[in-house]
Amino acid sequence: MITLQHFLVLSAVIFSIGLYGALAKRNVVAVLMCIELMFNAVNITLVAFARYLPATAGNPYGPLTGQVFALFIIAVAAAEAAVALAIILAVYRTRRSVNVEDVNLLQS
């Protein structure tokens, strides 16, 4: 019997793997991919909530709200990926590098 908790644990594991990658990777493209992993982990929880949470009086839109949120996240993630990859290209063009550590304009 698969319950909501299974999906949540899976989501947590994937999110943590994504977090590790986002923090530990040097290649900007890899960092971006790991961020996509984290987005998808979150989407799993939302869709799982939509499946398993009973309809309640407090939620007038029914259990499908989770799926609606997942859709929005997909839209935002797609937009993010497009812009981020454009930025990566622009940075690569000026610095000939996709290494995160080479971009240190934040340092005063």
């Binding site: 923090l23 960092v31 550590e101 240190n104 340092q107």
Partner: protein, 679 residues
Amino acid sequence: MPSTLWLILLLPVVSLALITLLRPAPRWSGRLTILAIGGSFVFSVVAFFEMLTRQQAAVAAHQEVEPVVSMVPWFQLGKTSFEVGVLADPLAAIMLLVVTTVSLLVQVYSQGYMAGDPGYRRYFAFMSLFTFSMLGLVLAPNFLQMFIFWELVGVSSYLLIGFWYHKPEAAYAAKKAFITTRLGDLGFLVGILMLYAYTGTFDFHQLQAAVKVGALGGAVLSTAMVLVFMGAVGKSAQFPLHVWLPDAMEGPTPVSALIHAATMVAAGVYLVARAFPLFQAAPTALMVVAVVGGFTAFFAATMGLVMSDIKRVLAYSTVSQLGYMMLGLGVGALSAGMFHLFTHAFFKALLFLAAGSVIHGAMEQDLFKLGGLRRHMPWTALTFAIGGLSLAGVPPLAGFWSKDEVLTAVYHSGNGLLLALGLLTAFMTAFYITRAWLLAFAGEWRGAAAAPPLPPGYALTPRPSPTGYALTPGPTPTGRGVGGEGVPAAGSEAGHGGSHGGSPGAHAHESPAVMVVPLLILAVPSVVAGFLGLPGANWFGSFLHGEEESAAEGIVIASSVVLAGLGILLGYLTYGARAISAEGLTAAFRPIHALLVNKYGLDDLYGWLVNRLYVGISLALAWFDQRIVDGLVNLVAWLAAQVGRGVTRTATGQLPNYALAVFAGVVVIANVVAVVAGR
């Protein structure tokens, strides 16, 4: 009458302002001051007679005389408003009379004494300031105003003691006087603040009312009044803060006469008299006053026995007589103390002015170098003798009556020790003043052939005031080029000595009329002022109190007269007839003599306290402050800098570092929240 009082107070300020702002010719600054103080004197006389009328009316109606008060609001603090103003009652009226009379005569005298001094104008400006401050003190209706003028008086005293500031001794003495009196003033300030804290007022009459209804009393009042008395101890040079007064003789002699004999030092006595109803409600404090006064009277007189400087003899005499006044007040006899203040102001001012005349005429103030001046300075010798006899308490001169009133009051208080101290003091007083007169005026001149050109700054340097310039005030030929009021030291003196040359003492001469006339005028009250307070017919006491004082005691009068006579006799035998060898006396009492000459070592003790102990403690504290306190501060600063330096390394500009920190924070906060919420 209020406008009269305001005029008395403000006239000296006007002259001070005119002198400082307009900088008139020196002789005009002197005249301006005399004019202003003369005005104050006239109005004081007017005020005195008005007060007399009111007093008689009040006595006729069997009431207490109402003081004349005029107040102006000064400032508001919270709900309390503070006022300044003038207050006149019989006490203030008498004090006004004393202050303005002596002040006026001293100013006239100063015209001669200070003639030719480069700081002539400055001198009169300071004198105006002093007179204003003293009058403000006398007229003050509350402790706050009194304290302000009290301090102003201290400042003027400082300025005038250090008038010849190019003399290191004078500058030093001025500092010593100011700082020593400040010690007492601290107590005074704490005392009046204590009174204010418990009653919410500085006003004398409101404080009296508070005492009367019992709102103030007991240990609180006693403590406060002892603290207030500390101010009087400092200002009136009572033991143990008396050390500044003999040194204050470095100032010009008229200053010594006015400030350090007649008026300012009497301010302490006046303070006690002014707050007398409060003291009466605090018997402990009154006892302290009596003991301090009695001891000071005796203690100072012993030192007066051996001093060789004519002014220092008089200075210790002043301290001693102030002790008498305190003693009188302390045993509860307000009118006795005030009466002695009243007569003492005249005869001591007379003595000082006469001494000034000696210094002016003979250019010497060491008693053992003077001598035989009677022939050269007859008027000075005569007036000094009158003042001295009055001081010694020879009937029927003024000093006799007032001193005996004090002694009678002590006798009535039943304190045998204090009475013994008082009588012994009377004996010593007669002895040392006889000694001073005989050494200065009798015998033969013992000084140098002519006043030698002493090195400038020498302690006993006589004032440079060549006779030729004494009657025509104006620039002296020497000491001019350097900075206006420059150093009129050796050059003019050498010139003086040279111009006189010749036989021993030949240069000694009688002082000009402008100096002798004030002496003669002062001699009159020194003789007759005592008749205002005859035992049994005490007009003075009834004016001050509205009632008769206790009658005289024959035994007290007799013993004091006998003792005074013995003192004079002993003095004559030793220094006049030479029947007793002064050297033999000195040898016989060598340890005591040495102790007295060293002023009981108190100066050394205070010097040690300040220079060794106090400086040592200060150095230790400075070390503590610089090493420990500052060290802690520096340590904190160093730590902050190190932390900052360490934190700087985390600002790598690397995005992953920042993201890592963010998520580490998320984990930590999430766990903290979980733990806190999980409870």
